[in-house]
Symmetry: C2
Subunit: 475 residues, 2 copies
C-alpha cells in the first residue's frame, strides 16, 4: 500500500535526486481531511457566449465560501456574483515582466451556451490565460449541456467537443490537477450542487478525465436538498450497507459513509468476521457475516434490514481468479461471475421486492477499468465488471419511478493489499500510467461513492465514473 | 513508415535473437491482397442458449465459401448448415496426448439468446476449448443484441458483459488475432453481412476490440444488397469524394475506394496539386485542388459535383498544430478547429442542401484516438476530433430520413510520414501499446472506411470505429 517512489521524490533529498536525473515527480495529492477546510482560495470563472449555468454556479460558490475572480470571457460574472453577495474581482493575467500571477485553486468554465464549433475558441482563451495560475492539486470543471439533448447537430458537435478539451487538459495540466466535465440538462440546473462540490473538493483527488451527466431527477424528485441541509453530514440519519466491508476499499467505504453520518451495515464472508467486526466497531456500525454468493443470503439481508430498511446499498464485494481462458477452470469463471455480478442481481431483486431499499435510495456498484477496457487473463472478471456497467445502465430507467439512483464507480490502480502483491514491473506501470503518475487510495474510491450516495445526487443515475487518476488505459 | 523492429523479429536471425532475449514478437499481419483468396479455411461456430443469429450467419458463411465446424455449444449449427448446403463438421478439441488440433481461421459465437449473467458460461466453454486452435491473424466475432434494446435489466446486463469478454480476448489472443463484437438489433438480422464479412476478412487486420451496432436501416431501406450483388466491386458505378487525398491515409482511401469500383474525386490543397494529380491519375479519378477551409469551397465542391452527384463523402483532411494550451497561439487553435471540424460542417451543409449527396449515400469522417482519450499538447486537435464524434452522433438521426449514414473512424498509431517524424521513444510506445504490438497501415484505415461506405452497411450509422489494433489508450 506504500508508493515508496512517491514518498522518495517528495522528500528533500529525493526531490533533488529526481530533479538532477530528470525523473518525473508525482505530486502528493491534496486529499480531504476533517481538520482542514474543504474549500478555500480563489476560483477563476470563464464562460463562452450566452452562458446558462452561471447563476447555479454562483449559488454553489456562495455556499462553499470560495472567492471568485472573473476572466475576461465571463463579463457577466461580476454583477451576478455581487447579486449573490460574493466577493469577486477580475482575473489578472500574468505580469509579463515577472510572470507573477495570483494563484487559483479552481478554474470553472461555463460552456453551456456554445452552439457551434467556432465558439469553442472561448475555451482556448480562458485556459490559455489561466491554466498556469492553477495551484497544485487544483481543479478544473467544464460545464456544458448533454450533446444528445441539443437542438441541432452543430450544437451537439460543439458540446461533444468539450470532452476532447477536458481530457487533453487533464493530460497536460499534471501537478495533481483534476479535470472533469459536467453535462447539465435543461431543468437540472438546481441539481448540480453535490456534483460540483465533489469535483471542486479534495475529495475528488483521484477522479480526473471524467464526464458526468446531471439529469432532471427521476420521478419528479426535488433534486436539490433544502437550504438548511447540513453538507457536513449529508448521510445523517441514513442507513447504508456495504458488501466486502472487512478490509481495503470496502472498509474505506464504510469509514467514509459513517463519517458523513450514516449508520453502516457491513457485510463480509464469515471467514473475515474478525476484520469485519473490527472495521464496524470503530465506526459504531453493524457487522453481518454472510457469504453474498449463498442462495439464501439475499433473503437474510432483507430480513436483517427489514424493520428499518436501507437508504444506500454499495455492492463492493468482488474477487479475481485470473488466468488466460484456455487455462481457466470452469469453476473460476462461474465463481467470479456469480460473486461479482449475479449476486448483486439477486440481492437487489430481494431488497427491491421487499421494499427494503427505500424509495429515493441509492445503489452504487463497484465496476473496474477491466470492465471498460478488458484485460489479459481477466475474461471472467472483465465480463463481470462490464456486466456491472450494463446493470447500472439497464436498472436506472427501471428504478427511476421509485426515485432510486444506480451508478457504478470503476477504479483504476488503487493501492491495496491486492495491488501490493503484483509483480514490481506491472505494479509500477499500473501506478504511473495515469495523469497523476501514482496509484489512488481506497478513500478516493470511497469518497466518489459517497458523492453518488448523496441525497443531492438525485439527478445522477445510470452512470459509470472512473476513479483512476485519468488512466491512460481505456476503450 | 517502416517498422524496422517488426521486420527484424520476423527475419530468421531476428526471430532467434528475439526468442533468446525474451523480446515480444509482433506478427506480420495477414492483410487483404487482390491476388489471394479473401476467405478460406475453417470457421468454428459456438453459441449460447437459444441463439437467434445462426441463420443469418449461415447465409454469410455460405456466401463467402468458408467451411464450418460446430462446437458442442452450437448443436443447432449442423442441421442448419446442412440446410444452407454448407460443408460442416464437429469441432474437435485438442488431442490430449499430442495437443494436435485442427487449425481454424475464425471463431464466431452467437450470444444473442443470452438472457442472464449465469448463461455467460457458454462463452467460457467455447473460447476455453477453441482459442488455441485459432490461426495467426485469425478472427473472433461475438454476436449479441444491443443491451439498450433488451427487455429486462438482467438481459441488458448479460449482453453488456460481452464487451468485457471480447476486449479481454483481444488482449490475450495476441498473434495478430482481431476480436470484435457485433450487436445486431431485432429485425436487422439481414443487415449484418457487410459487417460480418469485414470482421472475418483480412481487410480488418488492424481493427480489434471494437463494438459495432447493426440497426434496422434508417428510412425503411432494404439493408441487405440483392442476391446478385457483386461483393468484389461493391462501389461499382458510385462516385466517392475524399478530402486530403494527395498523400498518406487520404491516398490510401482513394486507392481502396477505387479498387472497389468507385470513381474517386480527390480533394487537396492547391500546394499539394502534384501529389494529388499523381494519386488520382493512377486510379483514373478526378483531382480537385481546393482549400477546404476557404469559405467559397463548399459551393465550389457542390458545383463541381452537381451534375453527377456523389454517393460517398470521406472527410479525411486534417491538420495538427500541437502545443500545450498555455503556449498555443490563437491561430493554431482556430486553424485546427476550422479545418478538422467546422469545414466538414460547412461542406456537408452545402452538399445536403443542394442534394449533391444522394439519398442513401454515405458520409465517413476521420476522428482520432485523441478525440476519444484526449492528448497532451492537443487540446485543439482533440476538441476537433471529439467534435467529429459528436457530429456523426448528432447528424445520424437527422440524415436517417434520407437513408444517408454517417460514421467515423478513429485511427490509433498509423505508419505515415507524420508518425515517422515522431521522437523515437514516443513512436515506439505508440507503436507497441496495442494488442498487435505494431502500428497500422494507411490501408487499414481505408479498408474500414470502405466497409462503412458499403451499400450493405445501411444499418451502421452514428458510430465510431477505432482502427488501432486495440490500443491500450482510451477513455
Amino acid at each position: 500500500m506504500n508508493d515508496s517512489y512517491l514518498n522518495f521524490v517528495n522528500s528533500p533529498l529525493g526531490a533533488r535526486v529526481a530533479r538532477s536525473l530528470g525523473l518525473p515527480k508525482p505530486e502528493v495529492l491534496r486529499r480531504y481531511r476533517a481538520d482542514a477546510p474543504e474549500f478555500d482560495g480563489l476560483i477563476a470563472v470563464g464562460a463562452g457566449p450566452a452562458p446558462q449555468l452561471l447563476d447555479a454556479l454562483a449559488n454553489v460558490v456562495a455556499h462553499i465560501g470560495m472567492t471568485s475572480v472573473a476572466h475576461a470571457s465571463a463579463g457577466l460574472w461580476v454583477p451576478l456574483a455581487n447579486r449573490h453577495g460574493l466577493m469577486t474581482g477580475r482575473f489578472e493575467p500574468a505580469d509579463p515582466a515577472t510572470g507573477a500571477q495570483a494563484r487559483v485553486r479552481a478554474l470553472v468554465f461555463d460552456a453551456s451556451g456554445i452552439e457551434s464549433s467556432a465558439q469553442l475558441d472561448t475555451l482556448y482563451a480562458f485556459f490559455h490565460d489561466a491554466l498556469r495560475s492553477l495551484d497544485q492539486s487544483g481543479r478544473i470543471v467544464v460545464l456544458g449541456r448533454p450533446p444528445e439533448a441539443c437542438a441541432s447537430p452543430r450544437q451537439w458537435t460543439a458540446q461533444r467537443a468539450l470532452e476532447g478539451v477536458t481530457r487533453s487538459l487533464g493530460k497536460e495540466a499534471r501537478r495533481g490537477i483534476a479535470v472533469n466535465l459536467m453535462y447539465v440538462s435543461q431543468g437540472a440546473e438546481n441539481g448540480l450542487e453535490s456534483t460540483l462540490r465533489f469535483f471542486l473538493s479534495p475529495r475528488s483527488a483521484y477522479v480526473s478525465g471524467q464526464v458526468v451527466r446531471i439529469g432532471a431527477a427521476p420521478g419528479g424528485m426535488t433534486q436539490n436538498v433544502g437550504a438548511d441541509f447540513d453538507w457536513t453530514q449529508p448521510l445523517a440519519g441514513q442507513r447504508a450497507v456495504v458488501t466486502g466491508a472487512a478490509r481495503g476499499i470496502g472498509a474505506a467505504i464504510a469509514n467514509v459513509l459513517a463519517a458523513q453520518g450514516a449508520h453502516v451495515i457491513g457485510i463480509d464472508i464469515p471467514s473475515a468476521t474478525d476484520a469485519l467486526d473490527a472495521t464496524l466497531r470503530q465506526i459504531g456500525g453493524t457487522a453481518l457475516a454472510l457469504d453474498i454468493a449463498a442462495p439464501e443470503t439475499p433473503a437474510q439481508i432483507a430480513a436483517a434490514l427489514d424493520e428499518l430498511g436501507v437508504d444506500v446499498f454499495v455492492h463492493n464485494a468482488g474477487i479475481t481468479k485470473d488466468k488466460t481462458i484456455a487455462k481457466m477452470t470452469e469453476a473460476a469463471w462461474r465463481n467470479v461471475i456469480d460473486i461479482n455480478l449475479s449476486a448483486q442481481e439477486r440481492i437487489d431483486d430481494a431488497l427491491l421486492e421487499a421494499g427494503t431499499l427505500r424509495d429515493g435510495g441509492r445503489i452504487v456498484c463497484v465496476s473496474s477499468i477491466s470492465g471498460i477496457a478488458g484485460n489479459l487473463g481477466q475474461t471472467n472478471y472483465a465480463a463481470s465488471k462490464a456486466g456491472v456497467i450494463g446493470r447500472v445502465q439497464g436498472m436506472a430507467p427501471y428504478l427511476a419511478a421509485r426515485r432510486i439512483t444506480i451508478n457504478a464507480v470503476a477504479p483504476g490502480f488503487i493501492e491495496t493489499q491486492m495491488t501490493a502483491k503484483m509483480p514490481l514491473a506491472l505494479r509500477e506501470a499500473g501506478r504511473r500510467m495515469n495523469s497523476m503518475s501514482q496509484g489512488g487510495q481506497p478513500a478516493d474510491v470511497a469518497q466518489t461513492i459517497a458523492w453518488l450516495a448523496h441525497p443531492g445526487s438525485a439527478g445522477v443515475t445510470g452512470q459509470v465514473v472512473r476513479v483512476c487518476g485519468q488512466s491512460l488505459i481505456g476503450a
